[in-house]
């Protein structure tokens, strides 16, 4: 039976009715109607559902919704503000780091979490950081280029 659960999502407390067996991903999509996080496999293999839990990237399909009640949850919807896109989002747009776009929210969340902890990555670091994110369209070239550009941009404006 659905039970009430308060989650802090993108800085806002949301009171939701959630089945005990719901993953954080199902809760975000079906209950909070934040559909930016994508369900590509529901098995932790593709990374399309990646969100930040207290700043760290996790595959939200492998996290039980009720276990996230103490955490700060950041989803793709929480990155842009009224001033515009985040540096990572902007770099993906400018460098053409996206095609069909289904894996992109997860890639952007992985990159965002990674760059917060590693502001000066090498290209190889970036390739490892997104090693849990499958993308079938881009071949990763432009994704890596975008993340490297975002890192440079973030260092400059820091």
């Amino acid at each position: 039976m659905k039970q009430p659960l308060t989650l802090k999502i993108n800085g806002e407390n949301r009171l939701l009715l959630v089945e005990p067996f719901y993953s954080l991903l199902d809760c975000l999509r079906d209950e909070a109607r934040l559909t930016g996080s994508k369900k590509g496999c529901d098995e932790g293999d593709c990374g399309a559902c990646t969100v930040l839990l207290d700043g760290k990237p996790v595959t939200s399909c492998l996290v039980l919704a009720h276990s996230a009640h103490d955490a700060e949850i950041t989803t793709i919807e929480g990155l842009a503000d009224v001033d515009g896109l985040s540096p990572v989002q902007k770099a993906f747009v400018e460098h053409g780091g996206l095609q069909c776009g289904f894996c992109i929210p997860g890639l952007i969340m992985s990159a965002t979490g990674f760059l917060q902890a590693n502001p000066e990555p090498t290209e190889e670091d970036v390739r490892f950081a997104i090693g849990g994110n499958l993308c079938r369209c881009t071949g990763y070239n432009r994704v890596v280029e975008a993340i490297m550009a975002a890192a440079a941009e973030m260092r400059e404006s820091a």
Binding site: E19, F21, R29, D30, R33, L34, T35, G36, S37, K38, K39, G40, C41, D42, E43, D45, C46, A48, T75, I76, E77, L79, A80, L85, Q89, F92, V93, E94, H95, G96, L98, Q99, C100, G101, F102, C103, I104, P105, I108, E123, V126, R127, F128, I130, G131, G132, N133, L134, C135, R136, C137, T138, G139, Y140, N141, R142, V143, V144
Partner: protein
Amino acid sequence: MTTTTQFKVLEQNHPRVDAYEKVTGRAAYASDVYLPGMLACKLLPSERNHARIVSIDTGAAAALPGVRAVVTGTDFPDVRFGSGALRDRYVMPREVVNFVGEPIAAVAADDEATAQEAIELIKVEYEDIPSVVNPLAAMVDGAASVHPDLESYEGYGFTLGHNVSTLLDADRGDVEQAFRDADVVVEDVYRSQGINQGFLEPMACVADVEPSGRLVIYASTQGPYQIRAGLAAVLEMPVSRIRIVPMELGGGFGAKLRLAFEAFPALLAMRTGRPVKLVNTREEVFTMNGPRLPVTNYVRSGVMNDGTIVAREAYTIFDVGAYLGAGPNSGIGHGIGAYRIPNFRLRSYGVYTNKIYVGSYRASGVADMTFAVESHMDHIAHEIGMDPYDLRLHNALREGDVSVSGAVVPSNGLIETLEAIKETMEWPRQLEDGHGLGLALCEWRSGSGPSTAAISINDDGTVSLLTGSTDISGSDTSLAAIAAEALGIPMSSVIVAKRDTDMAPYTGQSGGSRVVYSQGTAVQRAAEDTVQKLMALAAERLGVPEDALGCEDGRVYVMDNEPQGLTFVQLAAASITSRGGPIIGTAALSSMPYTPVFAAQAAEVKVDRDTGQIKLLRYVQAQDVGVAINPMAVEGQLDGGVVQGIGRALTEDQQFDPDNGAVRNPSFASYLMPLAIDLPEIEDVLIRVPAEDGPFGARAVAEPPGFGPPAAIANAVYDAVGVRVKQLPLSGERVLAALNGEYDDIPFDVEALRLAEGII
């Protein structure tokens, strides 16, 4: 080569028109559709690969609280459909199941968990029928029949052999004489594995019934009009009662060209009067929706000592699984590759087996054939002691040659792509032990088919562009760029309309490298029609003849007196009260001339002799794109295509149970697609020999990049350690076995095929 300075919009990088939606999570895919009162649909997969359904008891499932409807095969009209002419398939089996995973019942319930619980309550009694899983075994007389009544099916054509769905052939010249005249005859058999398309967005759709009774499908599709036609056939409804709303497409690569599972939620929505959503799990994507199945290619060439190839024979045995889900083409038309070979005999047998049906994937079959032909080219080169590059250059198609289909080859950049690869990869090059270089040529044609476009002018001088094709990998952005270039306005002044099958004119599918070339031509012509109407209106208002006018930068002006003119804003306003009314430019076409696309690719690898593992050090591709509409998008297509090919070469391997044909690795953890960490940076060289047809000289882009890697890497492995692996993928295990002198046995009885045809 051409100069690119003449363009104001093309040949410059433009962010995608949908980029903001996609990086913010706002882009809506079919699974993101939530409608009031929406039910969830789940499917029951068959447990058997060939069996009669004695009974299906859905009583307990239907009685479960929260379940709103249950349907099985007999709830659908008794009609077969197909992916082409041959109608070999029920949308849901009525009496007989043909593969493990085939959906045999569908449930609609208040939520997904309840629907799944109901699925598990359905009791099915099967009666097994003899089955066959291996296509070579299936062709033998006396083998189990997958479709015992095949010859009575609508659209069945002449074939040879048991369980053969389709037989394709192409012949030229005197093949037998040419083989007798040849100095050397080289013969090989290659085998490619099963491949999943690997799109990240699972198959998904939402069906809704409007109060008027019209069916609306929110779909993940490359072909909205094709889904509409398929649904109309299997539900016996007129197409006018169906509206398809294509949502953002989360990858398709051919898998979403046609009707898939839309009929199940559609019928459930009609039964319940409520919207019904179906989203496949990843396991269902792997086990229910057609992948590419294994292909065996036999290739034989007659060659002169100077390297001239005088004869080619190629036979394809192409496993189509339970149904011909992807049309009959197996890539056999690419059996002579990018070469001038005057005498050839090409045959392709599509063979039914009791496993998941074959689907389309990024130029279906051509990657398999390219692996065979381009590995074979290196084999020939080594047999006659010629450099593989020189052999390719010597035999490469030139302008004026005749293609397989008989069309004359127009101007193209094939030789330039080869030369670019030679230069970039520094071919030939002395390498250290265990390192090697390999080449492959790729060949395709720009896709054709019905294309339409309409352009209207808005009050502020911008334009709205309407086409029927769904966006595929940035095609909307490319179409906007073509419109902007032709109209003389910036990209930001083109709005690409979101569309559905009610509002947009009919168009072909988004696939086969068709959209930018054919649909783009329609857009260019619609833009030219728009300009002509603007000029006619301006001529009337300015009192000058039309031929005295020019059109540039959003303005029509008098060429002898540039300050005199009217902006698009003024013309839009004037058109409202003009004789012709508001401005709308249109164009439509049905087909386009043969326009080839060529690419050359090269791999540099290191092979570990102790483990057989291949490390890909460099990958370079040069492709003749004609003109790069949006270079950033073109390179994105090239990179993505090559990486799919690298997966095909090294790790991807859809495996099937040898006894019941079931997919054995239905997950991303067991079906291994390339990750960023597996890859070097892909190096792209764009060659620009403008096409004689196509928008502003652009050629198709998307398909060829994926063809080359299996052969280029296999050839590099041979160069590195002297073993020729003829079975994909080139796994460490397989390469190590080859290093120990053990090769896969790839049986192929070409004599039996020749004999059946009367060739002795």
